[in-house]
Symmetry: C2
Subunit: 122 residues, 2 copies
DNA sequence: TGAACACATAAACATATGTTCATATATAAT
DNA sequence: ATTATATATGAACATATGTTTATGTGTTCA
């Protein structure tokens, strides 16, 4: 349908399927939600952090344990734990000098497992 | 238990909980699996790509439609569609000059929704 | 045949990100 | 009090990443 073709400044091309575009536009969650969602997945999108989460599926661990497990230095792990903590993916408890980290959330594993399903099936 | 403390070169600290470390080590998936998983989530970890996927939940769309929807230029969208395609998250069909993209996978939405659950509950 | 269009892609660029190094903080032990 | 240890953090650095710009490719239509 020629009538549906509308020029948009930001894009040199014309909209071919205005119906599809407006349907998508209406169903789209808020900008902030999508931003937060991307930020969340970004946290999962690093090998070190994925390994840390994976390790914590088994039991809580202190920073040194994780560093030893992954053969990385303590600082790198500590930095990544901060990222995980900010994303509410891990929580911690202090016991003297030692800080024990554990999963903060029950559906962290569900996100993880859904990802696994995808990579196994392609 | 003092006997459990073992020095590791890569980490200046000593392992405090060798049992926890070895349990985690044994349950850890293969390195390659974890790498692929991180790569997958990395693809979800960008606002533009999240929006594209979100748009495709409704219906297939051509490149220009998506560019107009997101007020971005065609090239940027095309680059991101390539990333999504390489991750087996979208597929396409050609119809003359127009290339229609759609979701490749039924559990893309499940990963997306699991992420939503997390950000809504924190 | 040639112009217009939809899309792809390479190069360049600015920005974001992860690790390391050095150092600070807090607790425990001597 | 001093030392050792577990962790946190800021700065620096190298690398990765997303967007733009320019251009190439393939298809349609006049």
């Amino acid at each position: 349908m020629e009538e549906n073709r509308v020029s948009i400044e930001s894009c040199s091309c014309s909209i071919i399927h205005e119906d599809a575009v407006s349907k998508a536009r209406n169903s789209m969650p808020e900008e902030e939600t999508l931003y937060d969602l991307a930020e969340l997945f970004k946290v999962f999108g690093d090998t070190t952090r994925i390994k840390i989460l994976c390790a914590l599926f088994e039991s809580e661990m202190c920073v040194c344990d994780i560093a030893a497990l992954l053969s990385m230095n303590q600082s790198a792990i500590s930095h990544q734990l901060r990222v995980l903590k900010q994303a509410s993916l891990v929580k911690y408890r202090k016991e003297g000098k030692v800080v024990y980290y554990s999963l903060d959330d029950e559906h962290v594993k569900q996100i993880f497992d859904q990802g696994l399903v995808h990579i196994r099936e392609r």
